[in-house]
């Protein structure tokens, strides 16, 4: 195969694949609902590490998985290991899973101890 043919085929493959991969490239958001969602509960577990931070929040006996951002971006919002502890009241604002039976959301903003942490500042609702 000549180099030219190889390049032409690569371009063709990219043209075919790009629309399909656009949905996956969001990595975290393609599975979420568009409308904003608020969750209030008690912190059951916190994980601040790679590949991204998570928080388990107990809401009336049901444990929700609240996904945050990769550790660096999460810490950039001011949220660190000291920001919240198991047992703390927490409010998470963001987008929930499109699957309504799944207790999972991705938070753009976390409010705990009257402190607000904007994990994804560019996605925070403007109201």
């Amino acid at each position: 195969m000549s180099i030219q043919t190889s390049i032409r085929r690569t371009c063709l493959a990219l043209a075919l694949l790009l629309p399909a991969s656009a949905a996956l490239a969001h990595h975290g958001w393609s599975w979420t609902d568009d409308g904003f969602f608020e969750l209030e509960g008690v912190v059951a577990a916190i994980y601040l590490g790679n590949p991204h931070a998570t928080m388990d929040v107990d809401v009336e006996g049901e444990t929700w998985r609240v996904e945050l951002a990769p550790p660096r971006q999460t810490e950039r919002s001011g949220f660190t290991e000291e920001s919240a502890a198991v047992g703390d009241e927490v409010k998470a604002i963001g987008n929930r899973s499109r699957d309504e039976t799944e207790p999972r959301m991705k938070a753009v903003r976390i409010i705990v101890h009257d402190m607000t942490y904007d994990i994804y500042p560019n996605r925070v609702p403007t109201n």
Partner: protein, 148 residues
């Protein structure tokens, strides 16, 4: 204890985690690429290169890179072992890896000691075709771990 410290460092690292991740991709890319080329050559799709030297080279490449894929994979797994162990895509990937291993063992039995001129038996060729399906599935299942 030493290992636990390394796991914690990887968990909170800014650079090490993406680098280990990249190394895992490099290893998997080399591994799956080499396996697919071997399978295609065994199936007779790629005929422009003599079979035995090609298989010899690719087998050596696989032997070299497989441990890298395993070690980097274990490192990535270790930082949230419980999460991954219950992840359906991860479980599927491990099951497919086992199947790929069994298939490789079966291939070696079917193939026996082929000489350059011999064509592979139907069983060996079926095993090579199955190997393509299994390794691509391993790759796809692996990619889905982060999206499930």
């Amino acid at each position: 204890m030493e290992r636990l410290r390394a796991v914690n460092a990887l968990k909170g690292s800014y650079y090490a985690y993406p680098l280990v991740n990249a190394l895992h991709i490099l290893a998997i890319g080399t591994l799956v690429g080499a396996v697919l080329l071997m399978d295609l050559r065994i199936l007779g799709v790629v005929r422009s290169v003599a079979r035995e030297p090609l298989l010899h080279l690719l087998r050596e490449a696989v032997a070299l890179i497989f441990p890298v894929a395993v070690v980097t994979g274990l490192a990535l797994f270790s930082i949230r072992a419980q999460e991954y162990a219950t992840n359906p895509a991860f479980i599927a990937k491990m099951a497919l890896l086992v199947l790929a291993g069994v298939n490789f063992w079966a291939f070696q039995r079917f193939a026996g000691s082929e000489s350059d001129a011999d064509a592979y038996s139907t069983a060996a060729r079926l095993s090579a075709a199955l190997s393509i399906v299994l390794w691509v599935s391993v790759l796809v299942a692996g990619r889905f771990i982060g999206f499930i």
